[in-house]
Symmetry: C2
């Protein structure tokens, strides 16, 4: 561990220049259009960054009609952010030039530094750190950069990411994880404030980014993928502080022996034992998750559910085994599904097809084709039980494939997902109790791609109405349990 | 619990008539084509059951050009299997008529029996049981029937299930779970010997079916969804016996308080405590899983991997965080990823792009576009380490979407999944060590349906070569761990 004096201090203005650069220089752009530099240039243009991008390569030439400057000093203008993609040995020189041009920061995509575990690699990274100390912030090296939909910055590859801004931040030691999370989040309906892949973290890294996101008004939920921290004490102090304001969801990679070895060659960080990490994260009320998919689901719950604990829920599903499964999953996740009293049960039973249905809670609607208006009524009734704090609705839209086959109409036309989304939103508004939807779908083969696509459209319909949708009941319950865990601890701390 | 004398005994010939009926009678078919009876008739024809199906309804008439007999006794021929869909009150009469006609069995889809928890429902079910004792086997009531791809029997709904026969059997108290598993299995590449949804299990149920599948030469892996067993001692005796021959994978539903209530109204079974079930299943060396998706993945591993334990593995992936994640997941699942010795590491390093790659195991190939022939060579080298018993290959095919965007060609054309499947098969044949593939895909939104479809085609390409493919690394590891657990215990028992 190195001393805290080693880290730069950066004010809000400088961070604004990093995340919202007025102009960018890409250092190391091939006029042939190949490599990271040109890739980054095209990705920025594809996602819609419209301000100046200056290109630099010692060979000069042009790319897409734009001149390539031979030297950084030849750029006829200052720039806020540099993207450096030259070979490792040429990075310190380029970084120094960018600093002289007054750049606020450089993201260094190049690898070949400390992660090589060679004297040369370590020496190069130390040079980068020394230059950073003189007044330019460094993201990387060995990283994928910054994704900021509002300003049009994107990671590489990330030309097809969304421009929609939202409350989710992610800082990741792994570039691959940063890109995967951006993509997974997009398909699940998450929208991002900023994603930072910081790689080896020679300068700007976990603690400072956490602090920045903690105070960033655009960020509501912070996600982190950490392989190792530079200053444990500072990190956990900051973490404890930030979790009092907003949830921080963390994947700690490299907690096993083999994982720790992999960390060393990946981002040159030192790991730490599983028990210590788990205990410290718990003390700090961080939400620890195991993988990126779980992180995305947890974030979905945090961004779409009210900020509170949900202890007692109702489950409305289309098949008795789902009801049984719901009850079992709930118990696993510390949630309770209280039985409705006979009066309410009777009212619900009157709405459902008989026989085969059950109104005990879980409510088994017995038939996948029960109309949305009936489901709306059942959910309104269920919400009338004062104990119920949240409702889960399990949809079985894949069954409409049979309707599609019978009628010859596309499955997306015969499935009433849009109406159901509308009615669920009404239920939420009327009852004041959130609804979580499960989009169950066992039909995922190449002969059912129409079903897969329809389910994805249904997900969008729900997400547009702020209703979180999960793939399975167990995953929904798990995400709710994470929310409960965070607000439960937070509530106790504030008592 | 009722006495064993209550259960019918059925020989192989009778089971053959049930699963491979020479002719079927559907009792309760509307000439309007609506309802379960007509649905079953159309589903059987759609899936390709080509032998005689006799239709019965008191109103007579015809359906799809076929006469509907007014009474069962009017059917001018005997039949092996009856499918009864009439209202609960009419079931005993219909069943008795079928028995008189010499049917081997009747599957009763109708509900309205013990699961209602009424005196009338219980009495009707007792009548069904009494008739069964006189010499006709009953599947159900309150079930979805039998799926047997070889003979062309299918559950309802199940018109679009596969006719491909394979080693996977499933007996399920839940009809919904039976259909979902058939669909999920189909999309994952599983093929089935028989699926039986037995509902309330008035006659034929878990223990006898388990015994039958245990001795069925077409069945290699048995799956069960159980809400409650009728005779615990008989069930666990049979289970202990069968697990010595083949793996039995079990979901026990209703282990929670709320789940147990749901069970009662679902299939009228009695549950049992979580601790007792877990302990008994473990003693019997059954593989307990938590949900249907996990069951499908576990079955995939059992059907595609050699019958043994895999303690030490290699992981080859496209991103350092995947490598770190692999190592962490392995430790969680009791698997080890031993570091390669420097000589082998050097040989692997020589094949990989530099910098950014790592050959320590996990092997990080650094670039998602590394060619299949290189991956083949790396895997052959890795298998040369005598300790390695299995290899996991993490693919990152979704990155080819960028190639597709650049070239204007469909993503399925630019992604080398077919070549990779071929080369992986070669590696398996040459090294004698199995390979498990992970089809990582964060691009699942409506704008990436071409990627989703391509990934599904890639899955088929691998599955056709008997290479199991999972969606995530953690899921792959978990499935391998289940295989290990079973063969480890089995091996000890046989010592």
């Amino acid at each position: 561990m190195e001393s805290k004096a080693d880290s730069n201090s950066t004010d809000q203005t400088q961070f604004d220049r990093i995340f919202h650069p007025e102009n960018i220089a890409v250092i190391g752009v091939s006029s042939k259009g190949a490599g990271f530099g040109a890739g980054m240039f095209f990705a920025l243009r594809a996602i819609g960054y419209e301000k100046d991008i200056f290109l630099v390569n010692p060979k000069g030439g042009s790319l897409a009609g734009q001149p390539i400057y031979k030297r950084i000093e030849d750029i006829p203008h200052g720039f806020d952010l540099a993207i450096i993609t030259v070979t490792a040995g040429a990075v310190p020189g380029a970084l120094e030039e960018c600093r002289r041009k007054g750049a606020a920061a450089a993201q260094i995509l190049s690898s070949g530094f400390r992660e090589l575990n060679t004297d040369e690699g370590r020496a190069l990274e130390e040079q980068v750190r020394q230059i950073a100390r003189k007044g330019i912030r460094v993201i990387g090296p060995n990283c994928f950069g910054i994704y900021c939909p509002q300003s049009g910055l994107t990671v590489l590859p990330g030309a097809d990411l969304s421009r929609k801004t939202g409350p989710v931040a992610f800082c990741s030691q792994s570039g691959g994880m940063a890109v995967d999370f951006a993509n997974t989040g997009k398909s699940m309906g998450l929208a991002f404030s900023k994603i930072v892949s910081f790689g080896n973290g020679a300068d700007l890294r976990e603690t400072e980014l956490l602090d920045y996101f903690g105070n960033d008004s655009q960020t509501g939920v912070i996600n982190m993928y950490i392989e190792g921290v530079k200053d444990g004490e500072a990190f956990f102090d900051t973490l404890k502080n930030i979790t009092q304001k907003k949830p921080v969801i963390i994947i700690k990679g490299g907690l096993s022996a083999a994982g720790s070895r992999a960390v060393l060659s990946h981002t040159a960080s030192m790991g730490g034992s599983r028990v210590i990490w788990q205990s410290l994260l718990k003390q700090a009320n961080a939400v620890q998750v195991n993988d990126m998919e779980e992180m995305a689901r947890t974030t979905l719950a945090f961004t779409r559910l009210p900020a509170r604990v949900f202890r007692q829920i109702s489950v409305l599903g289309g098949g008795g085994a789902l009801g049984v499964g719901a009850a079992d999953a709930a118990e696993t996740h510390g949630i309770s599904i209280p039985a409705f009293e006979p009066g309410l049960r009777g009212q619900i039973e009157d709405l459902l097809p008989r026989p085969g249905s059950s109104a005990a809670n879980p409510v088994d609607v017995a038939n996948p084709y029960v109309r949305p208006e009936i489901l709306e009524q059942v959910m309104e009734l269920a919400a009338a039980d004062k104990r119920i704090e949240l409702q889960i609705l399990i949809t079985l839209f894949h069954h409409y494939k049979n309707f599609s086959a019978l009628t010859g109409k596309p499955v997306r036309e015969v499935t009433p997902y849009a109406e159901l989304a509308e009615r669920v939103e009404k239920v939420v508004q009327k009852t004041g109790k959130p609804v979580v939807v499960v989009l169950n779908n066992p039909k995922r083969g190449t002969d059912h791609m129409d079903v897969v696509e329809m389910i994805q459209e249904a997900r969008q319909a729900f997400m547009q109405r702020q209703i979180p949708a999960f793939d399975s009941l167990n995953e929904a319950m798990e995400a709710i349990a994470r929310v409960n865990q965070y607000y439960n601890t937070k509530g106790k701390a504030n008592e």
